[in-house]
Symmetry: C2
């Protein structure tokens, strides 16, 4: 099954000149969704992952389904102010300015084997902030998994020695 | 397994006087997570659901895991401006003012059997807007499923004749 055929290109979203990879056409196709999640999980079947960390909000779409498949728990990383208990926060650079993400302090136990999940690896800013948050809590980042990679943005560089697994990579237009 | 024991009460979040039901303590516990999703899915095993509609963003946490368990597709309902292609929009009342949610116009086929999923049934405003969106697209709303219901807020009333299934109900304090 060619999952790339299930993704829709939307020009000029969210702004002029960006060709947006819309995954909702894949998600609504039950066969494609199942295959996507199977392929995201494939490298981790025997790795005894303790926690899947999903990044708000499209990372949530894949994280819990993968947690069920890999017999792990699920931990959300969210935008500031959304998590109710005590959090750690990490800022990261945007094209202009900065943004931040947060994780609950008690979400990860020291030594936990943690897998980071999101829909898209673009510049890698959010994912590398997620790596820092997990390490702050003493977790071991076993890998980072994405449905789609925009290869031309070199996001992997920001993830250092964290093993990256993607289902589909796109070169620049 | 008493799933209520896995939920944490956080006082005064998101504002003074609100006792917030924090589900992240349940999500990170792999046994509790599995049991929660099994119990959310239980009434729908033989109902041939076509699409699970998850409401941003905590509905995403359960929606895809349920889609995998029930052999359905997944459709996100999102806050305005987040979905890239053509959308339908529905406004709903808040305590002060209004908010809105959107769905892609091509997300649901006429006649599709659709299940709405979210973490929490509170006043029912968002869920009833979701029902309207699905009906606009010609979908049949087979049910609405929530992990937690705040019974004292009477959200079910807003859902009319849509069958509601919840795993845990809480009375007022």
């Amino acid at each position: 099954m060619d999952l790339k055929q299930c993704i829709r290109d939307v020009p000029d979203f969210p702004k002029q000149g960006i060709l947006f990879k819309d995954i909702t056409t894949l998600l609504k196709d039950r066969q494609a969704l199942k295959e996507a999640i199977d392929r995201m999980c494939a490298p981790y079947r025997d790795m005894e992952i303790d926690q899947i960390v999903g990044i708000e909000s499209r990372g949530f779409i894949f994280g819990t389904a993968m947690a069920m498949a890999l017999n792990a728990g699920f931990v959300p990383i969210r935008k500031p102010g959304k998590l109710p208990a005590e959090t750690e926060r990490e800022e990261y650079a945007l094209e202009y300015g900065t943004d931040a993400i947060e994780i609950h302090r008690d979400a990860i136990k020291p030594g936990d084997r943690v897998l980071i999940v999101d829909d898209l690896l673009a510049t890698g800013g959010t994912a590398s902030a997620a790596v820092k948050l997990i390490k702050k809590l003493g977790g071991r980042v076993t890998g980072a998994c994405f449905l789609v990679e925009l290869i031309f943005l070199n996001g992997r560089q920001k993830l250092g020695n964290v093993p990256v697994h993607v289902v589909m990579g796109f070169e620049g237009e």
